[in-house]
Amino acid sequence: MISMIFRKRKHRLKESILRGVFEENLKILGKPPFRISERMPLSAKKISLSFLVILLFILGHGNSLNLPLFQEKQTIASSSTKNYFQAPEIPFALYDNSANLSDAKAFLKIPGVPLSRTFGLSVKTVMIDPGHGGSQNGTIGKMGTKEKDITLDIAKRLKMRLDKYGRYNVIMTRENDVTLPLNKRVALAQSYKADMFVSIHVNYLPSRPTNIIETYYFGSPSDDTTLKLAERENADSQYRLSDFRKIIEKIGNTLKYQESKKLAASIQKSLFSNISKEDGNVQNKGIKTAPFLVLLGVDVPAVLAEVSCLSNSKEEMKLNNETHRENIAHYLEKGILDYLNKGEASYEAKRR
């Protein structure tokens, strides 16, 4: 008798797992879940009944099983309702409380050093920062594509491309799917003495079915949408925009500011001019300023590129294509090199 109950339990477990596999694959295809239930109401009833049984079983064993069956679905639900208008409500520092606001001053320190070493030939260490990671998914497309995976993949490709020149020391803030708080990213850039910092992100525009490309450097938010975006991208940190409003005012026209602007322009130009060749509908949002935390903490030219848009289903499909990600990495590479070459040219000019 006991073995029969055990067998039945195992059978139900199997059923729910098989269904889970099926639903995951439906999601990859961008098909809505529960299509089956419309076509086969009876068996669906049976399935949901067995689901309920399993759920009850799990609830009964809740402690030992730790995670409920519906976890996956919760993730989907939260991602589909997610947009950046809700972002400010995301609590700061979901995971890392090691830094507190008393560190803020040190963290937000404005560099007093001249930035001359960032010019021309002296540029050696390029730091690439794949946005988000680990428990921080970033935005999530309808098919389940996560910003953190796309940014890491593009970053790896960009690194490989820059490595080929043998002239740059290319370092990534993360090489795996790990959670990395924004202040740690900044600390990495500082400890490696990075000469340039490029953060890669993917946008999400819930209300518009378009694809846009925009590149940011640190400054006051250009407009309300930019402010919302900054709040979303800063959500992994413990700081609020009000914490460094004064600093934004002070940063003014420093060398870092000017160089970051040039770098942003160069990257944006390369990204847009190339992507628009393949996608006539892509919109050029140009270079903008926004108070992104990662950009503030870094002492050297630093930009944040929103290279694509996961809310756009077509774009999500394309991002799942290796060639497209490789192309984006290529355009980023071009933008960075154009900036560096210009720097080199002006350096050469000054020497002569």
């Binding site: 098989l18 799917d177 799942n320």
Partner: protein, 338 residues
């Protein structure tokens, strides 16, 4: 119902970084090294005699071929544009081996490394769907677990070439939190071994491929069962070298990260469930063939309590077998809805 199943060929495919295999309901079973090569030009085509070569054959003819190893670290280092094509060729080749009858429908479950799945699931679906009628893609460690009936209370550690994938099974399809990937795996051992040998025998000539073969033949951790002697050319002449220590060091270099990650993943669960998982740790993938590795990891994990670590019987087919089992267990209505 039986009638219907006769018209369906179920296949399970394990698409690996280093090896890919297939198990089919027809009983067909095959594996190849995950290399695809296309002749570089028409002369090469004459030389090799075929438009596409696979596995070891492709490796042997590498000079005449444009070689592609798709899925490497989830990223392709060379021949990026051809990686999807390479996946397509591998699948086509494997499906042909399973000999479907003309009127048979093919329902396939394909297991891929967990990391690859994240950004390539659509590309993989696209590459495979051409050759099958319905398709599901799953992570490889999950396929292994399913094949071994480890649906609950188990940890699968899949030591592949590019990555080691961890997957905790707790009675549901594993979520992202239940899976972890690290880059210390087979290729990492190759690189370590290569640099150790370079250091020890600076005058010898050998390449990464030879090093990989040494590893596959002699790999072990812990106590050696005798000296390992191999022939390496020095100034053109073959010389016998003892590489026992280098093999040991290289193989053991992946252990700390694997042990640390296992410990971390198990620690996430509450004590009662931890005990259950600890009794059910399974090593899969090519790395599970390293002699002594299960015993070594079991010993190292003692610090978190007693554990049972075993290696799968047949790592080459564990993934494709599990995928086939998934395919056969999957209700037909699911297949028809995809």
């Amino acid at each position: 119902m039986k009638q219907k199943e006769d018209n369906i060929l179920f296949v399970g495919i394990d698409l690996g970084t280093s090896r890919s295999s297939i198990c089919a309901s027809s009983g067909a079973k095959e594996w190849i090294e995950s290399y695809v090569g296309w002749p570089k030009d028409f002369i090469s085509l004459k030389v090799v005699g075929r438009p596409v070569l696979f596995g070891s054959e492709a490796l042997q003819n590498r000079l005449s071929l444009e070689l592609c190893r798709p899925l490497e670290h989830g990223i392709i280092k060379e021949g990026i544009d051809r990686s999807e094509e390479a996946v397509r060729e591998i699948i086509k080749y494997l499906v042909e081996i399973s000999r479907p009858a003309a009127e048979q429908k093919i329902y396939a479950v394909v297991g891929v490394p967990a990391d690859t799945l994240k950004t390539n699931k659509l590309a993989i679906r696209r590459a495979v769907s051409e050759f099958v009628h319905s398709l599901m893609v799953v992570s490889d460690p999950f396929a292994v677990a399913y094949g071994m009936n480890l649906l609950n209370n188990a940890l699968v550690i899949d030591i592949g070439a590019g990555t080691t994938d961890f997957c905790i099974m707790h009675g549901a399809i594993p979520t992202e939190e239940d899976q972890k990937t690290i880059l210390t795996a087979g290729d990492y051992i190759d690189n370590q071994l290569y640099s150790y040998l370079n250091e020890k025998f600076p005058n010898s000539k050998f390449n990464k491929n030879m090093v990989r073969q040494f590893k596959e033949q002699y790999s072990f951790v812990g106590k050696s069962s005798g000296e390992i002697r191999v022939e390496l050319p020095v100034d053109g002449k073959p010389v016998i070298h003892d590489i026992t220590n280098e093999i040991k060091r290289a193989c053991e270099s992946i252990l700390p990260a694997i042990i640390e990650t296992s410990t971390e993943m198990i620690a996430r669960f509450d004590p009662e469930f931890q005990v259950k998982i600890k009794g059910n740790i399974v090593l899969a993938g090519g790395g599970s063939l390293i002699r002594g590795i299960a015993a070594h990891i079991q010993e190292a994990l003692k610090v978190i309590g007693s554990c049972t670590v075993v290696s799968v019987d047949d790592p080459l087919y564990a993934g494709s077998f599990g995928a086939l089992k998934l395919a056969q267990d999957m209700p037909v209505k699911y297949w028809e809805s995809l």
